[in-house]
Symmetry: C2
Subunit: 253 residues, 2 copies
Amino acid sequence: MSKAKPIDILIASLEQIEPLDQQDRDLLAGLDLRFRRFSANNEIVRSRTSPGESCFIVAGFAARAQYLADGGRQLDQIHVIGDFVDLHSLHLRQMDHSVIAIGPCDVAFIRHDELVSTMAHSPRLTWLLWQLTVLDGAVARTWMTCLGRRRAEAALAHLICELLTRLRRLGAAPSNRFHIPATQTDLADMLGVSTVHVNRSLAELRARRLLTWSRHEVHVLDFERLALIADFDNSYLEPGNPMPKYFQQFVTS
Amino acid sequence: MSKAKPIDILIASLEQIEPLDQQDRDLLAGLDLRFRRFSANNEIVRSRTSPGESCFIVAGFAARAQYLADGGRQLDQIHVIGDFVDLHSLHLRQMDHSVIAIGPCDVAFIRHDELVSTMAHSPRLTWLLWQLTVLDGAVARTWMTCLGRRRAEAALAHLICELLTRLRRLGAAPSNRFHIPATQTDLADMLGVSTVHVNRSLAELRARRLLTWSRHEVHVLDFERLALIADFDNSYLEPGNPMPKYFQQFVTS
DNA sequence: CGCTGGGTTGATGGCGATCAATCAATGTGG
DNA sequence: CCACATTGATTGATCGCCATCAACCCAGCG
């Protein structure tokens, strides 16, 4: 685990879903990666463009953002290390959203043609990458329910539960503490409320002694109760179905 | 087009993205379909189950729904004829949402094993089905922005613009009129507001002479202005990238 | 006919927006 | 080392969107 190469981060992320065989790992390890560091609020992928590469997060946090005519923005989803944030561009003729850095963020890019030929050699990787986009949809739907039907405090609690659950799985949240460089402005754009209201919702969670959040350091004091007021159910974060056998047996046409 | 068999509806839907060759059409035509009619508010696919089949809409409307602990629900997306609404269950170990009928709805089910072996014979169908799930995500993100950052009236206008755009493409909205059996309660659960407020937002749109909506018959009078207040941009509804050549050349391992 | 589900309208109140001020932390140039 | 600027967090005051409760209408239907 120490001195993990960037590609190992992606491999580990995929193996959370399903174990890879050595051949798949070799295929991935053979990929030609381009690296770049972004600082807060910079665009990793720009809306309305047609990138020739997809990217995953090597370090830090990123988010998907849609911009409005009035200059406002909605953050749809927050992504953590290992997330293949821009698999979508493989299929989208034009990006419907931007991917932006939340705090400093290291990103690895893979050219689409390389990605495709890798998949052509591995039904399992094809299946897994497809699945990533489907699981992504489940996260999106869950967040929609927060936006549409929960009050800001509950939605914020839900977001924190989700982040903690995901980071804990990566071993990045020892004793329910984690670092996240998001500002209250970022949270406001995520929750669809004003920064002032985020501040008050957060103050309320603190007052209830459910968590502390200071200087970008979050400490969840009572996950159980936090999950309760958030109406949080982690099953949407679970891995999906393993690849069916039949999928393996591709026939060259 | 007349007397279309149910599978032709799916084929037409896929060919909106990319033309199929005869072999792919034959593969689809050979699928064993199970049909069932649902009436309003009945569950086509139930949340938290693990279906062994996926389904597409043959006639009518359906929606994805997530339920809350307090008994409320959020409708995440409305689906129309030809939509492969439940491709997700192929990948999800457990459904994170229900699919319910909005008004009477005819649905065709395909067993997962059949679907998978069909894909195993056609990289193009694999690519297209994957793409459907990705495009689905783009629609979801766009709706999130409506939920988070638009007032009810604008969000409602946006929803109507989306429906009209999709139905027009299917030839199901002659002269900007279409039928939809959704009640104001359904719209409220979609928009994340109360039925009373839906009623008032709708009244406002009528007062501005942008549309009429009565007895489940919608007539959009001024699409341009409706799109303007909705901040509607249809590009997220466009087809995605065609299958890259390399994807074709699967290697049997 | 009365019942029922949906649509419409009014009154009242709360959540959250907006404007504004203050404060804490950090950075910058002199 | 200190004035000054900048960024983000916090708090108060006021306002508006939308929830909630309640009544009423209307069409379809047994």
